[in-house]
Amino acid sequence: MSESLTRDDVAKVAHLARLELTDAELDTYTEQLGAVLDHAADVAALDLADVPPTAHPLPLVNVLRDDVIGPTVDREEVLSQAPAVEDRRFRVPAILGEEP
């Protein structure tokens, strides 16, 4: 098991992702995620001072489009796909938290 990752860390991340995990799942994921982090630690141990950080796997920058209005989708079609609709808007359950 990883020394860097605790069961509490996994529980916290699960909460942030709104995942409900059983005790057995917490044990499993602590071990599996720990192994991933250990692998990353191997890379971190290398001397990479002269290697520029990779910002993206594709060797591309500045993929841009012109500021020209294009088609939008029909509101009735969009709202017909939603579980609940009211007054031309998406209806969602009561929000428990606050705005980020």
């Binding site: 294009g70 969602v92 705005e99």
Partner: protein
């Protein structure tokens, strides 16, 4: 009575605002850093070609990208980059290669369940903004991000707490924003308002945003802390949200600073948290505790490649930079021979009348006089279309004593209405320079009419004399139908008193 009510506060010289505790005698200062979100004035959204339009029918400006439908991919709007860089360079920032990141959270204002923002590598870093009073406020960063959809809370109180459910309009989801993070260099509620005024002027000058607080295209959060004057350490801060006007901004900062002083004076601590300003109640209320940055689990947006505008694009932006308010103030102040911090200079630039003032000064008008009229008599529609040559002529007539200050104001009003030259208007109105011997005769006549007042004027103390001076000047003005020059009348009165004395 709470300790806050025992505190007195007064703006002291310059930009400092302090709160003095009567209980301990300690003097506190406030430290404010502002975070401003402004919507960019593009035709389309940040990552899709839906219209960026305020006030449209709900959920009509939406597409698979901004609705977060599976398989859709974002493509960055070139004009967003252009406007963000223009703003960044206007704020003296360095434009850096940048990347986009996902900020993850569970809240239905973004259908994707994350907001695309810039996190560890923002486009603009490390600039500054100079306030008209000469204060330089540092800019930590000005980065690009998406705006969110608009929630309407239904049922209950209509507020988020106690609502039965919410309704969401995604027209605003994906509208481009720049978030401008200012350093905590502000020390006064009024200075915070000035900072927003100045920033708004820059946003308008660069065309980056229409910067309308009332429509939400410019939104301000204030980080407020307090510390004892002289303490080099920053106090623990609270972030104040829901500031919908400059008035709210100033009031909220002052309230929050007093609340924090009250807490610290009574031996308690300030809890780092988000607080909401309640304009009706005139107070801030606690919101959620500030989440740690890692709770958003930022990671690089894999669907977008890095942005690296390069030296040529930056040079093109710099080359096309319009004159900014600070530079315009400097130019006008130099031409008028006054300091750029003079209120009249600040006001002239704010009202877009600096070009008129410069032209009038270039046409021979006295700088100080021109600015005086701009500040006090030209706060009207159409002032910018005033003929600068006529304006200069008016000022010259005034300086030469051909018109009194009151007459000049009247003539200026007529000039704006009719477009006629000031000498023609003065002639029509019968404003003619009063011969000095004629004026002396009138003053002498009035002195003779009021011997008691005159004796009092000559023998009374300064206060009494000031009152009677008003009495005599008023009588002369009445006798001359307002055509006498007040200054000349005062000079004659003074000379007569000295002679009598």
């Amino acid at each position: 009575m709470s300790a806050v009510e025992n505190l007195t506060h007064q703006p002291v010289e310059g930009e400092h605002f302090t709160i003095t505790s009567e209980a301990t005698g300690d003097v506190w200062e406030i430290v404010v850093g502002l975070e401003v979100h402004c919507e960019l004035a593009t035709a389309t959204k940040l990552f899709c070609s839906c219209p960026n339009m305020f006030g449209d029918e709900p959920n009509t400006n939406v597409c698979p990208v901004c609705l977060g439908l599976p398989g859709s991919l974002p493509v960055l709007n070139r004009n967003v980059v252009e406007l963000a860089m223009r703003l960044g360079r206007a704020l003296h920032c360095s434009v850096e290669p940048s990347v986009f990141a996902r900020k993850n959270y569970f809240y239905p204002d973004m259908p994707k369940d994350y907001q695309v923002s810039q996190f560890d590598r923002p486009i603009n870093v490390d600039g500054w903004l100079d306030l008209p009073d000469g204060t330089r406020v540092g800019i930590e960063r000005a980065h690009i991000e998406e705006d969110t959809g608009k929630n309407t809370h239904a049922g209950g109180s209509g507020r988020i707490h106690g609502a039965d459910y919410s309704l969401v309009d995604y027209n605003r989801a994906g509208v481009p924003l720049v978030e401008i993070v200012g350093r905590p260099h502000i020390r006064h509620p009024e200075q915070a308002k000035t900072y927003i005024d100045e920033l708004r002027a820059i946003l308008l000058a660069t065309g980056a945003s229409d910067a309308k607080m009332e429509e939400g295209s410019l939104r301000v959060d204030a980080n407020v802390s307090v510390r004892r004057v002289g303490d080099p350490e920053l106090g623990r801060r609270c972030e104040i949200k829901n500031l919908n006007s400059l008035r709210s901004l100033g009031r909220a900062i002052e309230y929050e600073a007093r609340r924090q002083v009250d807490l610290l004076e009574s031996g308690e601590v300030v809890k780092q948290e988000t607080r909401h300003w309640d304009e009706g109640a005139g107070r801030t209320r606690p919101g959620r505790s500030k989440e740690e940055a890692e709770d958003y689990r930022y990671f690089q947006e894999p669907d977008l490649v890095p942005l690296d505008p390069g030296a040529d694009w930056i040079a093109a932006i710099d080359g096309a930079m319009p004159a900014l308010p600070a530079a315009r103030r400097d130019t006008l102040a130099a031409a008028a021979g006054v300091a750029p911090t003079e209120t009249a200079v600040v006001v002239a630039v704010q009202r877009d009348l600096d070009q008129l003032a410069l032209a009038a000064i270039a046409a021979g008008g006295d700088g100080s006089r021109v600015l005086l009229h701009v500040e006090h008599n030209l706060a009207v529609e159409g002032a910018e279309s005033l003929d600068p040559a006529h304006f200069a002529q008016l000022v010259t007539m005034e300086v030469a004593g051909q018109l009194t200050a009151t007459q000049a104001k009247t003539v200026l009003g007529d000039m704006l209405e009719s477009g006629k030259a000031p000498d023609a208007i003065a002639a029509e109105r019968g404003f003619e320079a009063m011969d000095s011997s004629e004026l002396e005769g009138i003053v002498d006549g009035i002195i003779a009419e009021s011997p008691d007042e005159w004796a009092d004027y000559c023998g009374g103390d300064d206060k009494r004399r000031g009152k009677l001076q008003g009495f005599f000047v008023g009588k002369v003005m009445k006798a001359t139908k307002g055509q006498a020059d007040g200054k000349a009348v005062n000079a004659i009165l003074d000379a007569r008193r000295t002679a009598a004395g």
